[in-house]
Symmetry: C2
Protein backbone atom coordinates (compact mmCIF):
# COMPACT_ATOMS: atom_id res chain seq x y z
CA UNK A 1 0.00 0.00 0.00
CA UNK A 2 1.34 3.46 -0.87
CA UNK A 3 1.85 6.02 1.89
CA UNK A 4 -1.25 7.93 2.97
CA UNK A 5 -1.80 11.68 2.98
CA UNK A 6 -2.24 12.89 6.57
CA UNK A 7 -2.89 16.42 7.79
CA UNK A 8 -2.12 16.63 11.48
CA UNK A 9 -4.14 19.73 12.32
CA UNK A 10 -7.29 21.33 11.01
CA UNK A 11 -10.09 23.26 12.64
CA UNK A 12 -12.61 23.94 9.90
CA UNK A 13 -16.25 24.92 10.01
CA UNK A 14 -17.04 21.31 9.12
CA UNK A 15 -19.55 20.54 6.40
CA UNK A 16 -20.33 17.92 3.78
CA UNK A 17 -18.54 20.17 1.29
CA UNK A 18 -15.31 20.06 3.30
CA UNK A 19 -15.57 16.29 3.80
CA UNK A 20 -15.97 15.92 0.02
CA UNK A 21 -12.95 18.14 -0.54
CA UNK A 22 -10.94 15.81 1.73
CA UNK A 23 -11.89 12.95 -0.58
CA UNK A 24 -11.22 14.99 -3.71
CA UNK A 25 -7.80 15.88 -2.29
CA UNK A 26 -7.02 12.26 -1.40
CA UNK A 27 -6.57 13.08 2.29
CA UNK A 28 -6.69 9.81 4.27
CA UNK A 29 -6.51 11.17 7.80
CA UNK A 30 -6.95 14.50 9.54
CA UNK A 31 -6.26 15.40 13.15
CA UNK A 32 -9.11 17.76 13.95
CA UNK A 33 -9.39 20.08 16.92
CA UNK A 34 -12.57 19.30 18.85
CA UNK A 35 -12.08 21.65 21.79
CA UNK A 36 -10.22 24.78 22.93
CA UNK A 37 -11.49 26.32 26.16
CA UNK A 38 -14.46 24.00 26.64
CA UNK A 39 -14.67 21.97 29.84
CA UNK A 40 -15.27 18.21 29.80
CA UNK A 41 -19.06 18.35 29.58
CA UNK A 42 -18.97 20.92 26.79
CA UNK A 43 -16.42 18.82 24.89
CA UNK A 44 -18.78 15.84 25.06
CA UNK A 45 -21.30 18.02 23.22
CA UNK A 46 -18.66 18.68 20.56
CA UNK A 47 -18.03 14.94 20.20
CA UNK A 48 -21.79 14.46 19.80
CA UNK A 49 -21.65 16.87 16.85
CA UNK A 50 -18.87 14.77 15.32
CA UNK A 51 -20.93 11.62 15.91
CA UNK A 52 -23.76 13.29 13.96
CA UNK A 53 -21.38 13.82 11.04
CA UNK A 54 -20.02 10.27 11.26
CA UNK A 55 -23.59 8.93 11.17
CA UNK A 56 -24.59 11.22 8.31
CA UNK A 57 -21.51 10.80 6.09
CA UNK A 58 -20.22 7.26 6.72
CA UNK A 59 -19.12 7.01 3.09
CA UNK A 60 -16.81 10.03 3.57
CA UNK A 61 -15.49 9.99 7.16
CA UNK A 62 -15.18 7.88 10.31
CA UNK A 63 -13.56 8.18 13.74
CA UNK A 64 -9.91 7.14 13.69
CA UNK A 65 -8.43 5.52 16.79
CA UNK A 66 -5.27 3.75 15.55
CA UNK A 67 -2.77 3.84 12.71
CA UNK A 68 -4.66 0.91 11.18
CA UNK A 69 -7.67 3.18 10.80
CA UNK A 70 -5.59 5.27 8.37
CA UNK A 71 -5.00 2.08 6.35
CA UNK A 72 -8.74 1.33 6.55
CA UNK A 73 -9.41 4.82 5.21
CA UNK A 74 -7.04 4.16 2.30
CA UNK A 75 -8.71 0.84 1.57
CA UNK A 76 -12.27 2.21 1.74
CA UNK A 77 -11.68 5.61 0.11
CA UNK A 78 -12.65 7.59 3.19
CA UNK A 79 -10.97 9.98 5.62
CA UNK A 80 -10.19 8.90 9.19
CA UNK A 81 -10.79 11.74 11.66
CA UNK A 82 -8.56 11.84 14.76
CA UNK A 83 -9.65 14.00 17.70
CA UNK A 84 -7.39 16.50 19.43
CA UNK A 85 -7.67 19.21 22.10
CA UNK A 86 -5.73 22.48 21.79
CA UNK A 87 -5.92 23.16 25.53
CA UNK A 88 -6.23 20.90 28.59
CA UNK A 89 -9.46 22.60 29.74
CA UNK A 90 -11.16 19.36 28.73
CA UNK A 91 -9.57 17.48 31.64
CA UNK A 92 -10.44 20.27 34.10
CA UNK A 93 -8.46 19.53 37.28
CA UNK A 94 -9.04 15.77 37.09
CA UNK A 95 -6.16 13.58 35.92
CA UNK A 96 -8.54 10.62 35.48
CA UNK A 97 -10.26 12.52 32.65
CA UNK A 98 -7.14 11.86 30.55
CA UNK A 99 -8.15 8.22 30.17
CA UNK A 100 -11.85 9.05 29.81
CA UNK A 101 -10.97 11.40 26.92
CA UNK A 102 -8.84 8.69 25.32
CA UNK A 103 -11.81 6.30 25.56
CA UNK A 104 -13.84 8.95 23.72
CA UNK A 105 -11.27 9.01 20.91
CA UNK A 106 -8.94 11.86 21.90
CA UNK A 107 -5.44 11.25 20.50
CA UNK A 108 -3.65 14.63 20.89
CA UNK A 109 -3.79 17.20 23.69
CA UNK A 110 -1.87 20.45 23.96
CA UNK A 111 -0.61 21.11 27.47
CA UNK A 112 -1.36 24.81 27.02
CA UNK A 113 -2.84 27.24 24.52
CA UNK A 114 -1.02 30.61 24.49
CA UNK A 115 -1.64 31.11 28.25
CA UNK A 116 -0.50 29.43 31.42
CA UNK A 117 -2.58 26.30 32.08
CA UNK A 118 -2.67 23.94 35.04
CA UNK A 119 0.02 21.94 33.23
CA UNK A 120 2.38 24.25 31.30
CA UNK A 121 2.99 27.80 30.10
CA UNK A 122 1.67 29.09 26.79
CA UNK A 123 3.87 30.85 24.26
CA UNK A 124 2.26 34.25 24.96
CA UNK A 125 3.18 34.33 28.67
CA UNK A 126 6.15 36.50 29.65
CA UNK A 127 7.20 33.97 32.27
CA UNK A 128 7.41 30.24 31.69
CA UNK A 129 7.81 28.26 34.93
CA UNK A 130 8.06 24.99 33.05
CA UNK A 131 5.89 21.91 33.54
CA UNK A 132 3.81 22.13 36.73
CA UNK A 133 3.39 19.49 39.43
CA UNK A 134 0.10 18.39 37.87
CA UNK A 135 1.67 18.64 34.41
CA UNK A 136 4.32 16.06 35.26
CA UNK A 137 1.69 13.59 36.37
CA UNK A 138 -0.57 14.31 33.39
CA UNK A 139 2.31 13.66 30.95
CA UNK A 140 2.91 10.30 32.65
CA UNK A 141 -0.81 9.51 32.41
CA UNK A 142 -0.92 10.56 28.73
CA UNK A 143 2.07 8.27 28.10
CA UNK A 144 0.21 5.44 29.83
CA UNK A 145 -3.06 5.66 27.93
CA UNK A 146 -1.71 6.68 24.50
CA UNK A 147 -2.62 10.38 24.28
CA UNK A 148 0.03 12.44 22.46
CA UNK A 149 1.52 15.52 24.14
CA UNK A 150 1.27 18.42 21.67
CA UNK A 151 3.25 21.60 22.47
CA UNK A 152 2.36 23.73 19.43
CA UNK A 153 1.09 26.69 21.49
CA UNK A 154 3.35 26.27 24.55
CA UNK A 155 6.33 28.25 25.80
CA UNK A 156 9.90 27.18 25.07
CA UNK A 157 10.87 26.10 28.57
CA UNK A 158 7.65 24.14 29.05
CA UNK A 159 8.18 22.52 25.65
CA UNK A 160 11.76 21.49 26.38
CA UNK A 161 10.73 20.07 29.75
CA UNK A 162 7.80 18.18 28.22
CA UNK A 163 10.19 16.57 25.70
CA UNK A 164 12.47 15.62 28.59
CA UNK A 165 9.75 14.32 30.90
CA UNK A 166 7.65 12.43 28.36
CA UNK A 167 8.65 8.80 27.98
CA UNK A 168 7.04 8.62 24.55
CA UNK A 169 7.83 10.98 21.64
CA UNK A 170 5.75 14.14 21.61
CA UNK A 171 4.53 16.33 18.75
CA UNK A 172 4.39 19.92 17.66
CA UNK A 173 1.52 19.35 15.29
CA UNK A 174 1.32 22.80 13.69
CA UNK A 175 4.22 25.28 13.60
CA UNK A 176 7.25 26.17 11.49
CA UNK A 177 10.90 26.84 12.33
CA UNK A 178 11.47 30.37 13.58
CA UNK A 179 14.76 30.49 11.63
CA UNK A 180 12.57 30.62 8.51
CA UNK A 181 9.92 33.00 9.87
CA UNK A 182 10.40 34.42 13.37
CA UNK A 183 6.75 34.38 14.51
CA UNK A 184 6.09 33.93 18.22
CA UNK A 185 4.27 30.67 17.44
CA UNK A 186 7.08 29.23 15.34
CA UNK A 187 9.74 27.12 17.07
CA UNK A 188 13.39 27.74 17.85
CA UNK A 189 16.21 25.55 16.60
CA UNK A 190 16.80 24.38 20.18
CA UNK A 191 13.20 23.19 20.51
CA UNK A 192 13.15 21.52 17.09
CA UNK A 193 16.46 19.78 17.77
CA UNK A 194 15.30 18.41 21.13
CA UNK A 195 11.92 17.44 19.65
CA UNK A 196 13.32 15.51 16.70
CA UNK A 197 16.28 14.00 18.59
CA UNK A 198 13.74 12.39 20.96
CA UNK A 199 11.72 10.87 18.11
CA UNK A 200 9.09 13.61 18.13
CA UNK A 201 7.31 15.03 15.09
CA UNK A 202 6.87 18.52 13.65
CA UNK A 203 3.85 19.29 11.47
CA UNK A 204 4.38 22.23 9.08
CA UNK A 205 1.73 24.90 9.34
CA UNK A 206 0.09 26.65 6.40
CA UNK A 207 -1.53 29.27 8.61
CA UNK A 208 -0.47 32.61 7.11
CA UNK A 209 0.81 34.08 10.39
CA UNK A 210 3.32 31.19 10.51
CA UNK A 211 4.48 31.76 6.89
CA UNK A 212 7.23 34.02 5.54
CA UNK A 213 5.37 36.94 3.89
CA UNK A 214 2.10 35.67 5.33
CA UNK A 215 -0.69 35.15 2.80
CA UNK A 216 1.78 36.05 0.04
CA UNK A 217 4.16 33.21 0.92
CA UNK A 218 5.02 31.19 -2.20
CA UNK A 219 4.83 27.41 -2.41
CA UNK A 220 8.47 27.52 -3.43
CA UNK A 221 9.55 29.33 -0.28
CA UNK A 222 7.47 26.95 1.86
CA UNK A 223 9.02 23.92 0.17
CA UNK A 224 12.53 25.31 0.57
CA UNK A 225 11.82 25.57 4.29
CA UNK A 226 10.60 21.95 4.34
CA UNK A 227 13.78 20.79 2.61
CA UNK A 228 16.04 22.68 4.97
CA UNK A 229 14.15 21.29 7.96
CA UNK A 230 14.60 17.77 6.57
CA UNK A 231 18.32 18.39 6.16
CA UNK A 232 18.72 19.82 9.66
CA UNK A 233 16.58 17.40 11.68
CA UNK A 234 16.01 14.35 9.46
CA UNK A 235 13.37 13.60 6.86
CA UNK A 236 11.71 11.10 9.24
CA UNK A 237 10.56 13.66 11.79
CA UNK A 238 8.39 15.99 9.72
CA UNK A 239 4.91 16.06 8.24
CA UNK A 240 2.04 18.43 7.54
CA UNK A 241 -0.16 20.08 10.19
CA UNK A 242 -1.80 22.73 8.06
CA UNK A 243 -3.79 24.54 10.78
CA UNK A 244 -6.42 25.04 8.09
CA UNK A 245 -9.40 26.93 9.56
CA UNK A 246 -11.61 26.77 6.48
CA UNK A 247 -14.95 28.60 6.30
CA UNK A 248 -14.74 29.83 9.89
CA UNK A 249 -16.30 33.17 10.81
CA UNK A 250 -13.98 35.60 12.61
CA UNK A 251 -15.97 35.06 15.82
CA UNK A 252 -14.22 31.69 16.04
CA UNK A 253 -10.70 33.11 16.06
CA UNK A 254 -11.88 35.51 18.76
CA UNK A 255 -13.09 32.51 20.81
CA UNK A 256 -9.82 30.67 20.18
CA UNK A 257 -7.84 33.66 21.44
CA UNK A 258 -10.08 34.87 24.26
CA UNK A 259 -12.13 31.91 25.48
CA UNK A 260 -13.80 33.04 28.68
CA UNK A 261 -10.54 34.13 30.31
CA UNK A 262 -10.32 37.68 28.95
CA UNK A 263 -12.45 40.80 29.33
CA UNK A 264 -10.18 42.65 26.91
CA UNK A 265 -9.95 41.72 23.25
CA UNK A 266 -6.77 39.71 22.78
CA UNK A 267 -5.74 39.67 19.13
CA UNK A 268 -3.16 36.89 19.50
CA UNK A 269 -1.18 36.57 16.28
CA UNK A 270 -3.54 39.03 14.63
CA UNK A 271 -3.36 42.83 14.62
CA UNK A 272 -5.75 45.76 14.33
CA UNK A 273 -5.23 45.59 10.56
CA UNK A 274 -5.83 41.80 10.43
CA UNK A 275 -8.05 41.09 13.47
CA UNK A 276 -9.74 38.02 11.98
CA UNK A 277 -8.60 34.98 10.02
CA UNK A 278 -5.96 35.92 7.42
CA UNK A 279 -6.40 34.82 3.80
CA UNK A 280 -4.85 31.47 2.90
CA UNK A 281 -2.12 31.59 0.23
CA UNK A 282 -3.70 30.84 -3.17
CA UNK A 283 -1.84 27.52 -3.52
CA UNK A 284 -3.23 26.14 -0.23
CA UNK A 285 -6.86 27.08 0.26
CA UNK A 286 -8.47 23.76 1.14
CA UNK A 287 -8.04 19.98 1.28
CA UNK A 288 -7.73 19.71 -2.49
CA UNK A 289 -4.37 21.52 -2.43
CA UNK A 290 -2.06 18.97 -0.83
CA UNK A 291 -0.73 18.03 -4.27
CA UNK A 292 0.63 21.57 -4.60
CA UNK A 293 2.90 20.86 -1.64
CA UNK A 294 3.97 17.44 -2.94
CA UNK A 295 4.61 18.89 -6.41
CA UNK A 296 6.58 21.76 -4.87
CA UNK A 297 8.81 19.29 -3.06
CA UNK A 298 9.31 17.28 -6.26
CA UNK A 299 10.21 20.52 -8.07
CA UNK A 300 13.00 20.90 -5.49
CA UNK A 301 14.24 17.42 -6.53
CA UNK A 302 13.05 15.67 -3.40
CA UNK A 303 12.73 11.90 -3.97
CA UNK A 304 9.28 10.28 -4.20
CA UNK A 305 10.23 8.27 -1.14
CA UNK A 306 10.84 11.38 0.96
CA UNK A 307 7.81 13.22 -0.41
CA UNK A 308 5.66 10.26 0.67
CA UNK A 309 7.16 10.34 4.17
CA UNK A 310 6.42 14.03 4.57
CA UNK A 311 2.91 13.91 3.09
CA UNK A 312 1.81 11.21 5.55
CA UNK A 313 4.20 8.28 5.91
CA UNK A 314 5.89 9.76 8.96
CA UNK A 315 2.66 10.60 10.71
CA UNK A 316 1.37 7.08 10.07
CA UNK A 317 4.46 5.59 11.75
CA UNK A 318 3.98 8.04 14.64
CA UNK A 319 0.27 7.15 14.92
CA UNK A 320 1.18 3.44 15.00
CA UNK A 321 3.59 4.06 17.87
CA UNK A 322 1.60 6.58 19.89
CA UNK A 323 -2.09 5.79 20.30
CA UNK A 324 -2.07 2.43 22.12
CA UNK A 325 -2.14 2.12 25.91
CA UNK A 326 1.26 1.32 27.32
CA UNK A 327 0.37 -2.10 28.70
CA UNK A 328 -0.62 -3.21 25.20
CA UNK A 329 2.75 -2.22 23.69
Amino acid sequence: MTAPVIDCLQYANWSEEIFRQMRAGGVHAVHVTITYHENFRETVHNIERWNCWFERYPHLIFLGRTGDDVRLAQKTNRTAVFFGAQNPSVIEDDIRLVEICHMLGLRFMQLSYNNQSLLAAGCYENNDPGITRMGRQVIREMNRVGLVVDMSHSGDRSTLEAIEISERPIAITHANPSWWHPALRNKSHQVLKALTDSGGMLGFSLYPHHLKHGSKCTAESFCEMVLETAERYGVDRIGIGSDLCQDQPDSIVTWMRNGRWSKELDLGEGSTTVPGFPDQPPWFKDNRDFDNIADGLRAKSMSEHDVALIMGGNWLRFYDESFSPRAAL
Copy 2:
Protein backbone atom coordinates in the same frame (compact mmCIF):
# COMPACT_ATOMS: atom_id res chain seq x y z
CA MET B 1 -12.02 -23.46 23.99
CA THR B 2 -14.61 -24.51 26.58
CA ALA B 3 -17.56 -22.25 27.30
CA PRO B 4 -16.90 -19.38 29.68
CA VAL B 5 -18.66 -18.60 32.96
CA ILE B 6 -20.53 -15.29 32.63
CA ASP B 7 -22.59 -13.50 35.25
CA CYS B 8 -24.78 -10.91 33.57
CA LEU B 9 -25.46 -8.70 36.60
CA GLN B 10 -23.60 -7.78 39.73
CA TYR B 11 -23.40 -4.63 41.79
CA ALA B 12 -20.87 -5.33 44.52
CA ASN B 13 -18.90 -3.03 46.78
CA TRP B 14 -15.90 -3.74 44.55
CA SER B 15 -12.56 -4.61 46.09
CA GLU B 16 -9.44 -6.62 45.37
CA GLU B 17 -10.96 -9.39 47.47
CA ILE B 18 -14.01 -9.62 45.22
CA PHE B 19 -11.88 -9.52 42.05
CA ARG B 20 -9.81 -12.39 43.50
CA GLN B 21 -13.00 -14.30 44.27
CA MET B 22 -14.03 -13.89 40.61
CA ARG B 23 -10.77 -15.57 39.63
CA ALA B 24 -11.13 -18.25 42.30
CA GLY B 25 -14.64 -18.96 41.02
CA GLY B 26 -13.50 -19.13 37.39
CA VAL B 27 -15.80 -16.28 36.34
CA HIS B 28 -14.66 -14.99 32.92
CA ALA B 29 -17.04 -12.06 32.50
CA VAL B 30 -19.34 -10.00 34.66
CA HIS B 31 -21.83 -7.35 33.61
CA VAL B 32 -21.49 -4.78 36.38
CA THR B 33 -23.85 -1.94 37.16
CA ILE B 34 -21.94 1.36 37.04
CA THR B 35 -24.85 3.74 37.53
CA TYR B 36 -28.42 3.98 38.83
CA HIS B 37 -29.74 7.52 39.27
CA GLU B 38 -26.50 9.32 38.42
CA ASN B 39 -26.51 11.79 35.56
CA PHE B 40 -23.92 11.65 32.77
CA ARG B 41 -21.22 13.66 34.54
CA GLU B 42 -21.61 11.64 37.74
CA THR B 43 -21.44 8.40 35.77
CA VAL B 44 -18.12 9.51 34.25
CA HIS B 45 -16.82 9.73 37.82
CA ASN B 46 -17.98 6.16 38.36
CA ILE B 47 -16.13 5.05 35.21
CA GLU B 48 -13.03 6.80 36.55
CA ARG B 49 -13.28 4.62 39.65
CA TRP B 50 -13.41 1.54 37.44
CA ASN B 51 -10.40 2.81 35.49
CA CYS B 52 -8.55 3.04 38.82
CA TRP B 53 -9.34 -0.61 39.49
CA PHE B 54 -8.36 -1.64 35.94
CA GLU B 55 -5.03 0.16 36.37
CA ARG B 56 -4.46 -1.31 39.82
CA TYR B 57 -5.47 -4.93 39.15
CA PRO B 58 -4.63 -5.58 35.46
CA HIS B 59 -3.76 -9.19 36.30
CA LEU B 60 -7.33 -9.75 37.59
CA ILE B 61 -9.72 -7.59 35.53
CA PHE B 62 -10.04 -5.46 32.39
CA LEU B 63 -12.76 -3.57 30.55
CA GLY B 64 -14.74 -5.82 28.22
CA ARG B 65 -16.14 -4.34 25.01
CA THR B 66 -16.86 -7.37 22.79
CA GLY B 67 -17.50 -11.08 23.00
CA ASP B 68 -13.87 -11.62 22.02
CA ASP B 69 -12.86 -9.92 25.26
CA VAL B 70 -14.53 -12.83 27.10
CA ARG B 71 -12.31 -15.18 25.11
CA LEU B 72 -9.30 -13.00 25.96
CA ALA B 73 -10.26 -13.28 29.62
CA GLN B 74 -10.37 -17.07 29.31
CA LYS B 75 -6.97 -17.11 27.61
CA THR B 76 -5.31 -14.78 30.13
CA ASN B 77 -7.01 -16.01 33.30
CA ARG B 78 -8.74 -12.74 34.06
CA THR B 79 -12.28 -11.42 34.29
CA ALA B 80 -13.69 -9.10 31.61
CA VAL B 81 -15.90 -6.41 33.14
CA PHE B 82 -18.81 -5.15 31.02
CA PHE B 83 -20.50 -1.89 32.02
CA GLY B 84 -24.25 -1.47 32.41
CA ALA B 85 -26.71 1.18 33.61
CA GLN B 86 -29.81 0.21 35.57
CA ASN B 87 -31.62 3.44 34.67
CA PRO B 88 -31.40 5.83 31.70
CA SER B 89 -30.53 8.82 33.94
CA VAL B 90 -27.06 8.59 32.43
CA ILE B 91 -28.30 9.81 29.04
CA GLU B 92 -30.31 12.62 30.67
CA ASP B 93 -32.60 13.98 27.93
CA ASP B 94 -29.96 13.72 25.21
CA ILE B 95 -30.27 10.86 22.71
CA ARG B 96 -26.71 11.50 21.48
CA LEU B 97 -25.39 10.41 24.90
CA VAL B 98 -26.36 6.84 23.94
CA GLU B 99 -23.40 6.67 21.56
CA ILE B 100 -21.11 8.60 23.92
CA CYS B 101 -21.88 6.03 26.65
CA HIS B 102 -21.19 3.19 24.22
CA MET B 103 -17.81 4.80 23.42
CA LEU B 104 -17.13 4.77 27.17
CA GLY B 105 -17.82 1.05 27.31
CA LEU B 106 -21.52 0.85 28.25
CA ARG B 107 -23.08 -2.34 26.88
CA PHE B 108 -26.44 -2.64 28.72
CA MET B 109 -28.96 0.02 29.70
CA GLN B 110 -32.29 -0.47 31.43
CA LEU B 111 -35.01 1.73 30.00
CA SER B 112 -36.42 2.24 33.50
CA TYR B 113 -35.73 1.35 37.10
CA ASN B 114 -38.93 0.68 39.09
CA ASN B 115 -40.34 4.15 38.22
CA GLN B 116 -41.49 5.88 35.06
CA SER B 117 -38.49 7.22 33.13
CA LEU B 118 -38.30 9.39 30.04
CA LEU B 119 -38.33 6.15 28.04
CA ALA B 120 -40.51 3.52 29.73
CA ALA B 121 -42.49 2.62 32.84
CA GLY B 122 -40.92 0.85 35.80
CA CYS B 123 -42.45 -2.26 37.36
CA TYR B 124 -43.55 -0.36 40.49
CA GLU B 125 -45.77 2.13 38.64
CA ASN B 126 -49.52 1.50 38.76
CA ASN B 127 -49.89 2.72 35.21
CA ASP B 128 -47.67 1.68 32.33
CA PRO B 129 -48.17 3.84 29.23
CA GLY B 130 -45.68 1.76 27.25
CA ILE B 131 -42.58 3.03 25.44
CA THR B 132 -42.56 6.84 25.17
CA ARG B 133 -41.85 8.96 22.10
CA MET B 134 -38.26 9.44 23.22
CA GLY B 135 -38.07 5.76 24.20
CA ARG B 136 -38.83 4.63 20.65
CA GLN B 137 -36.00 6.73 19.27
CA VAL B 138 -33.58 5.69 22.02
CA ILE B 139 -34.25 2.00 21.32
CA ARG B 140 -33.46 2.62 17.65
CA GLU B 141 -30.27 4.45 18.63
CA MET B 142 -29.26 1.66 21.06
CA ASN B 143 -29.81 -0.83 18.22
CA ARG B 144 -27.60 1.29 15.96
CA VAL B 145 -24.62 1.64 18.29
CA GLY B 146 -24.74 -1.78 19.98
CA LEU B 147 -26.13 -1.00 23.44
CA VAL B 148 -28.43 -3.74 24.76
CA VAL B 149 -31.94 -2.86 25.94
CA ASP B 150 -32.41 -4.37 29.43
CA MET B 151 -35.95 -4.47 30.85
CA SER B 152 -35.30 -6.17 34.21
CA HIS B 153 -36.94 -3.42 36.28
CA SER B 154 -39.56 -2.28 33.74
CA GLY B 155 -43.32 -2.73 33.60
CA ASP B 156 -44.93 -5.49 31.55
CA ARG B 157 -46.46 -3.32 28.82
CA SER B 158 -43.24 -1.34 28.37
CA THR B 159 -41.29 -4.59 28.24
CA LEU B 160 -43.55 -6.18 25.62
CA GLU B 161 -43.40 -3.03 23.51
CA ALA B 162 -39.60 -2.82 23.83
CA ILE B 163 -39.34 -6.42 22.57
CA GLU B 164 -41.59 -5.49 19.66
CA ILE B 165 -39.87 -2.21 18.77
CA SER B 166 -36.27 -3.31 19.16
CA GLU B 167 -34.74 -4.63 15.96
CA ARG B 168 -32.06 -6.52 17.90
CA PRO B 169 -32.78 -9.04 20.67
CA ILE B 170 -33.11 -7.49 24.12
CA ALA B 171 -32.31 -8.86 27.58
CA ILE B 172 -33.82 -9.22 30.99
CA THR B 173 -30.47 -9.58 32.71
CA HIS B 174 -31.66 -10.36 36.25
CA ALA B 175 -35.10 -11.78 37.09
CA ASN B 176 -36.87 -15.12 37.43
CA PRO B 177 -40.20 -16.43 36.11
CA SER B 178 -43.14 -15.31 38.23
CA TRP B 179 -44.75 -18.78 37.75
CA TRP B 180 -41.96 -20.05 40.06
CA HIS B 181 -42.01 -17.15 42.51
CA PRO B 182 -44.61 -14.42 42.04
CA ALA B 183 -42.49 -11.39 43.05
CA LEU B 184 -43.29 -8.07 41.43
CA ARG B 185 -39.82 -8.03 39.86
CA ASN B 186 -40.11 -11.52 38.40
CA LYS B 187 -41.49 -11.90 34.89
CA SER B 188 -44.76 -13.28 33.54
CA HIS B 189 -44.98 -16.16 31.09
CA GLN B 190 -46.20 -13.74 28.44
CA VAL B 191 -43.11 -11.55 28.82
CA LEU B 192 -40.71 -14.51 28.90
CA LYS B 193 -42.34 -16.05 25.84
CA ALA B 194 -42.12 -12.83 23.82
CA LEU B 195 -38.55 -12.22 25.05
CA THR B 196 -37.22 -15.64 24.12
CA ASP B 197 -39.23 -15.99 20.88
CA SER B 198 -37.51 -12.81 19.66
CA GLY B 199 -34.02 -14.14 20.44
CA GLY B 200 -33.74 -12.30 23.74
CA MET B 201 -32.04 -13.57 26.89
CA LEU B 202 -33.11 -14.07 30.50
CA GLY B 203 -30.52 -14.01 33.28
CA PHE B 204 -31.59 -15.91 36.42
CA SER B 205 -31.36 -13.86 39.58
CA LEU B 206 -29.97 -15.11 42.87
CA TYR B 207 -31.24 -12.07 44.77
CA PRO B 208 -33.29 -13.50 47.67
CA HIS B 209 -36.39 -11.38 46.96
CA HIS B 210 -36.57 -13.08 43.55
CA LEU B 211 -36.23 -16.59 45.01
CA LYS B 212 -38.91 -18.99 46.25
CA HIS B 213 -38.57 -18.94 50.06
CA GLY B 214 -36.12 -16.04 49.82
CA SER B 215 -32.81 -16.55 51.58
CA LYS B 216 -33.94 -20.10 52.42
CA CYS B 217 -34.37 -21.09 48.78
CA THR B 218 -32.53 -24.35 48.06
CA ALA B 219 -30.15 -24.87 45.16
CA GLU B 220 -32.35 -27.78 44.16
CA SER B 221 -35.46 -25.61 43.88
CA PHE B 222 -33.51 -22.97 41.94
CA CYS B 223 -32.17 -25.59 39.53
CA GLU B 224 -35.62 -27.11 39.03
CA MET B 225 -36.80 -23.65 38.01
CA VAL B 226 -33.88 -23.35 35.55
CA LEU B 227 -34.76 -26.72 34.01
CA GLU B 228 -38.41 -25.86 33.63
CA THR B 229 -37.52 -22.52 32.05
CA ALA B 230 -35.25 -24.33 29.58
CA GLU B 231 -38.06 -26.71 28.72
CA ARG B 232 -40.62 -23.94 28.27
CA TYR B 233 -38.54 -21.37 26.36
CA GLY B 234 -35.48 -23.19 25.06
CA VAL B 235 -32.10 -23.90 26.60
CA ASP B 236 -30.48 -21.31 24.28
CA ARG B 237 -32.18 -18.29 25.78
CA ILE B 238 -31.11 -18.44 29.42
CA GLY B 239 -28.10 -17.65 31.55
CA ILE B 240 -27.13 -16.28 34.93
CA GLY B 241 -27.61 -12.67 36.11
CA SER B 242 -27.09 -13.16 39.81
CA ASP B 243 -27.84 -9.59 40.99
CA LEU B 244 -25.15 -10.21 43.59
CA CYS B 245 -24.72 -7.09 45.75
CA GLN B 246 -21.80 -8.34 47.81
CA ASP B 247 -20.41 -6.35 50.75
CA GLN B 248 -22.74 -3.40 50.17
CA PRO B 249 -23.94 -1.38 53.16
CA ASP B 250 -27.72 -0.95 53.43
CA SER B 251 -27.32 2.73 52.51
CA ILE B 252 -26.72 1.52 48.94
CA VAL B 253 -30.03 -0.32 48.61
CA THR B 254 -31.69 2.84 49.94
CA TRP B 255 -29.96 4.84 47.17
CA MET B 256 -30.96 2.24 44.58
CA ARG B 257 -34.61 2.48 45.66
CA ASN B 258 -34.87 6.20 46.42
CA GLY B 259 -32.23 8.00 44.37
CA ARG B 260 -33.02 11.68 44.65
CA TRP B 261 -36.63 11.28 43.51
CA SER B 262 -38.25 10.48 46.85
CA LYS B 263 -38.69 12.40 50.12
CA GLU B 264 -40.34 9.36 51.67
CA LEU B 265 -38.46 6.13 52.33
CA ASP B 266 -39.36 3.70 49.57
CA LEU B 267 -38.56 0.13 50.62
CA GLY B 268 -38.96 -1.37 47.15
CA GLU B 269 -38.86 -5.15 47.40
CA GLY B 270 -37.91 -4.85 51.08
CA SER B 271 -40.19 -4.48 54.07
CA THR B 272 -40.05 -3.02 57.55
CA THR B 273 -38.76 -6.39 58.76
CA VAL B 274 -36.13 -6.61 55.98
CA PRO B 275 -35.41 -2.98 55.08
CA GLY B 276 -31.84 -3.60 53.90
CA PHE B 277 -30.10 -6.19 51.77
CA PRO B 278 -31.43 -9.71 52.49
CA ASP B 279 -28.99 -12.52 53.28
CA GLN B 280 -27.81 -14.54 50.29
CA PRO B 281 -28.70 -18.25 50.34
CA PRO B 282 -25.77 -20.20 51.79
CA TRP B 283 -25.03 -21.93 48.46
CA PHE B 284 -24.61 -18.64 46.59
CA LYS B 285 -22.78 -16.06 48.66
CA ASP B 286 -20.10 -14.83 46.27
CA ASN B 287 -18.28 -15.41 42.97
CA ARG B 288 -16.80 -18.70 44.18
CA ASP B 289 -20.23 -20.35 44.23
CA PHE B 290 -21.08 -20.68 40.54
CA ASP B 291 -20.07 -24.33 40.64
CA ASN B 292 -22.91 -24.96 43.08
CA ILE B 293 -25.33 -23.95 40.34
CA ALA B 294 -23.59 -26.02 37.65
CA ASP B 295 -23.46 -29.03 40.00
CA GLY B 296 -27.13 -28.56 40.88
CA LEU B 297 -28.04 -28.65 37.18
CA ARG B 298 -25.92 -31.79 36.68
CA ALA B 299 -27.68 -33.38 39.66
CA LYS B 300 -30.92 -32.83 37.75
CA SER B 301 -29.38 -34.80 34.84
CA MET B 302 -28.83 -31.78 32.62
CA SER B 303 -26.21 -32.53 29.94
CA GLU B 304 -22.74 -30.94 30.15
CA HIS B 305 -23.52 -29.22 26.87
CA ASP B 306 -26.60 -27.50 28.28
CA VAL B 307 -24.94 -26.66 31.60
CA ALA B 308 -22.18 -24.92 29.65
CA LEU B 309 -24.72 -22.93 27.65
CA ILE B 310 -26.48 -21.73 30.78
CA MET B 311 -23.32 -20.95 32.76
CA GLY B 312 -22.00 -18.63 30.02
CA GLY B 313 -22.16 -20.05 26.49
CA ASN B 314 -25.48 -18.39 25.73
CA TRP B 315 -24.39 -15.00 27.03
CA LEU B 316 -21.20 -15.22 24.96
CA ARG B 317 -23.23 -15.79 21.79
CA PHE B 318 -25.49 -12.89 22.78
CA TYR B 319 -22.46 -10.63 23.48
CA ASP B 320 -21.02 -11.55 20.07
CA GLU B 321 -24.27 -10.52 18.39
CA SER B 322 -25.13 -7.45 20.42
CA PHE B 323 -22.24 -5.09 21.14
CA SER B 324 -21.07 -4.02 17.66
CA PRO B 325 -22.41 -0.97 15.88
CA ARG B 326 -24.94 -1.83 13.23
CA ALA B 327 -22.91 -0.62 10.26
CA ALA B 328 -20.12 -2.99 11.23
CA LEU B 329 -22.45 -6.02 11.27
